[in-house]
Symmetry: C2
Subunit: 210 residues, 2 copies
Amino acid sequence: MGSLVWFTLLGFLTINSCAGRPHPCKSPPLLQGSLSMIGQSEDFQAIAKFNYDALEQRIHFGEFGYYQNKTFHVDALLLYKEGVMYKINRHNKTCTRKELKSSFHPLKVPHNATLLGQVVLGSMSHHGESLLVNSWAGEIPEHKAKYLLTFTKLGCIPVSCLYNSPKTGGITISFFNNIVGIVDPNVFIPPPYCTTATLEEGSNDFFSIF
Amino acid sequence: MGSLVWFTLLGFLTINSCAGRPHPCKSPPLLQGSLSMIGQSEDFQAIAKFNYDALEQRIHFGEFGYYQNKTFHVDALLLYKEGVMYKINRHNKTCTRKELKSSFHPLKVPHNATLLGQVVLGSMSHHGESLLVNSWAGEIPEHKAKYLLTFTKLGCIPVSCLYNSPKTGGITISFFNNIVGIVDPNVFIPPPYCTTATLEEGSNDFFSIF
């Protein structure tokens, strides 16, 4: 995706003075919420509930989606410390267990991201109608990827992510209904029928669950 | 854009009871702010400041964008009551004046839109980190278009719009830095060199300014 307009925001938006200039932030280590993912083309949409534990480096995803005219459901548990990823079918009580080869990436603004600006979603004209957010842009040269990230100013809660790479195309991710903390830590414990699943070979990372 | 996932939100999101169920709302009649527009394909991005006056049915757009590898700048004034649209070049002090054939559409959720749900952007875990919004989906059969609209629960301020039609492709519009009211009503008065501009023929509507 062309970055011209994103970077034009640098001049367009009101950026804080140096003293109060936002710095790349890291989200709370325990977070749960929901997200929607919409692919640029018509062939991919998904809604997921997630549980995120950066302390123990584990993520749980319960996702429903639509890809190339077919629906899919994914219930995935990624345990980075153990280097294992489970795909769980709770209805059939079956499970696949795969080696998780990528390392854990905490939910944060990359240190080398460029601040586009601080903006208000909604309106500050009346109380309770606004959310102050910081927007950041950057590139990941090894994936030829560009991203635009928006996090709340207070609390560093993710709001949205626009990601574009030749491999994935453009994807818009919106986060909502986030809560700091984990309501039920059992979501990170694989069901009994998972522990007996044979470890399958293959190169797996976060994106392979989709 | 496939609507399957959008409508799945109906079951996925927590919707208020009937008594407190959100109704399609109309934005404040006087509003100014900014918006970004990103086309699904790489060839269109734009940032605009807008002034919106539903009482007098007039809109002013100052927009900078990028389309098919070329930058563009648009300064457009749409006066629906007079049925005229000006494209202004303040640098060269030139102006084009065209007939505006479409009718004024107030900023609102269409009455026949389907409520997807009420969600929190950011997090309610701490004060000042959240924004309560309602999301709506619908179709415009005459344009074969689908849309997903998000407005703040309080105040009915636009937050985002995903629009997809065969004519436009997919477009993501994000609204920010909105203020209820108009800071400078002079933005709705065409500069002197516009009034002498010859009225050009042609079918023009809101989208023709882009």
